[in-house]
């Protein structure tokens, strides 16, 4: 008995690529690393990014200045409240992001696994992006 025999080919044109934001989370120890070591990491991360550009994955990227440079805006009983510092005080600080186009999550994970700063305790969060109009369904 073959299910395959009953299979009629159905070709559906799909969205070919997915876009992922690779969020770079700094380790607590980053600031205390010696300058040379930090620069080596910067260089390696640069090479990692260049490789993504060559392979056609890279869409956009940027690093962020330290969280101490951040200003947060929110509202408090209808009034805008502007405060010094990041929205959430956490040990892991968002240090930058790289937006890549991949065929699926596995490809994005493979790219994240090669991120050089992982070796000094960084973490990378892989988040699919929303495309087009944002609308709750």
């Amino acid at each position: 008995m073959s299910i395959g025999a009953a299979l009629v080919r159905l070709e559906v044109e799909f969205q070919k690529f997915m876009q992922y934001a690779l969020l770079i989370y700094q380790s607590e120890t980053w600031e205390s690393l010696p300058k040379e070591e930090k620069n080596r990491i910067h260089e390696d991360c640069g090479a990692w990014h260049e490789e993504l550009v060559r392979a056609g994955h890279a869409r956009t990227c940027f690093g962020l200045r330290p969280a101490t440079m951040a200003t947060t805006v929110r509202t408090n009983s209808g009034r805008a409240l502007v405060t010094d510092g990041p929205f959430a005080e956490t040990k892991e600080v968002l240090g930058g992001l790289e937006v890549v186009e991949c065929k699926d999550l596995d490809q994005a994970i493979a790219i994240a696994k090669r991120f050089p700063a992982l070796r000094v305790g960084f973490a990378m969060e892989v988040r699919p992006t929303l495309s087009g109009e944002c609308k709750e369904e």
Binding site: V8, V12, E13, M18, D104, A110, P128
Partner: protein
Amino acid sequence: MQGRVNLAEIYRSEYGRILASLIRVVRDFSLAEDSLQEAFAIAVAQWEEKGPPPNPAAWLMTTARNKAIDQIRRRTMAENKHNEMITLGTAEGSAPVSSDSLRLIFTCCHPAIAPESQIALTLRTVCGLQTEEIARAFLVPVPTIAQRIVRAKAKIKNAGIPYEVPEEDQLAERLESVLTVIYLVFNEGYSASFGANLLRAELCGEAIRLARQLVALLPSETEPRALLALMLLNDARRSARTDEKGELVLLEDQDRTRWDKAKIEEGRALVDAVVREGPPTSYAVQAAILAVHTAAATSEETDWKQISALYGVLAQINPSPVIELNRAIAVGMADGFEHALTLIDKIELPDYYLLPASRADLLRRLGRNEEAAKAYRSALKLVSNEAERRYLERRLQEVISG
């Protein structure tokens, strides 16, 4: 009536296979699932009347596929989307159905899905269990399981989890996650299969069925065979683990004639082959330990020296205090209880009832009843399973009155 019986059987054996192929064709988990449910609903009505078709699985597949196509057409028209183009071609020859099943397993057990959702989704899709059945087996509310499945499916769709077998360089790592899910399903059934909850025992059967499927799909991999052996050798002793009153019976007191000989033979043959093929892995060594246990006709004939050596190997592969505890017990059986006690006193396992329970057992065997009673009481404070609690209470009474 005949038709209904057949349909239930077909559901059990074919649901996962048909679903796996459907998902590949329509590339949408929920759509494939809904369409297949619809096809089964139609089958219930039609087959009752006319009897089942000559090739029921193919009929279900075709019906479900047509339902899915209707749905896609309606959606396409409603959204006026032109990027979803449907073309119906000729029937495929012998589609690789088994590789579809493998895809489905790897997708459901993707590490990007939360472990509890991996389990729920695998049981729902690969094994075809109903949400209610899974909820009852895991003793959690139905909406919890439903939510886990919904979340998992949303993640597959929105995060772009691929529907494919991982590449060679990823296979070992991803296979580990699949095997973990299968073993968790088994243990959930095994550790709680006392008493009347037969559904929980059925989880053992599902896990073994999944492992068999995996062995058939990846015949050259040793780990699936090692896990299958481990589960078979455990499962073979399941009915001997409780007496007529539903009380727990420990390995040494089990009626070995109640062990399932076919499962033991199959398990041992698998262990023998796996051990000869390469360096020992955790599942293989655990299975080998059970193979030694099951080789003894009586508990007195157990080769404890070999078992303690195997626990030594296991502790190297997978260092953990639980394994050290088991090794200590095996050493105790081989070299003497005093030696085992000194080993146990070095192990730190807070809140793990088997640590004081094992101490208590060794002290009881040494005739140090007062200390044994104290250790049994510590164990009783930590134990959660009712059958295990009653066992400890029985032992406590023994050492108090003895």
